[in-house]
Symmetry: C2
């Protein structure tokens, strides 16, 4: 099976498959006489695993660890769960940050009339002179 078929059957495309090989996520494929990569069912399974893990939002480093655990038939499920908890922690952090940004911006946007006049609390907020800048400067003078 050449790369296109392996890619299609795992939900990927050839570029991504080559990329995953290049970064060492999968073993370098065997080559046919003409230099083409040659895949078997086992490889397709691994590629599908990677595809699904990407869909679930895992980064490639985390997928690398999940693959190692998957291959190890005697893994303790606690280790898999640990990877998942890490991922969950990251997701939580990102969601929290984005939600803060959203709430903040939503508030400002609600306060903006959105008419033909130039006054806008959003721009005012962005250009506000702030005590923080002064504090920062003081901090740095003292530290230096």
């Amino acid at each position: 099976m050449r790369i296109r078929e392996a890619a299609e059957r795992s939900g990927l495309n050839p570029k991504r498959v080559r990329y995953y090989e290049r970064v060492g996520l999968i073993e370098p494929a065997r080559r046919l006489d003409n230099g083409y990569r040659d895949y078997d069912e086992r490889a397709v399974h691994e590629l599908r695993f990677i595809h699904r893990a990407r869909e679930m939002g895992f980064g490639l480093e985390r997928i690398r660890r999940l693959l190692a655990l998957w291959r190890d038939r005697s893994r303790p499920s606690s280790e898999v769960k640990a990877v998942a908890e890490e991922q969950l922690g990251e997701l939580d952090a990102k969601i929290r940050r984005l939600t803060e940004l959203r709430e903040n911006l939503k508030h400002l946007a609600q306060c903006c009339d959105g008419d033909h006049r130039p006054d806008c609390p959003i721009l005012e907020e962005l250009s506000r002179e702030e005590a923080a800048a002064v504090e920062q400067e003081l901090d740095e003078r003292e530290a230096g």
Copy 2:
């Protein structure tokens, strides 16, 4: 005022200031005789504006538009609001996506015993043989 001071007073660092200049977010700075960039208070105000907009989560292209509106004293606030609404839409989409990922993964992790045994619903989910793959293949055969 040289770049370090301008950067500090706007909450940035010199690298970012040069970068913003390079991508055309700010005008190229005047140069001193020795080639050093020279900034005034107005430049610091712009840099601070950019810094705060970044903190609020805006990307540089959106900031470019906000800067243009900020400079235009006769802007209608509706245009500023429109930029903010775009940003809000993006934030919402990202949050929705991340929340879906989180709920899905949280569910799987809860179902995982997390003990010394190898059985794990997370790995099972990732390696599950799926009708979807077959369907996709069929779709593509038909299309081709």
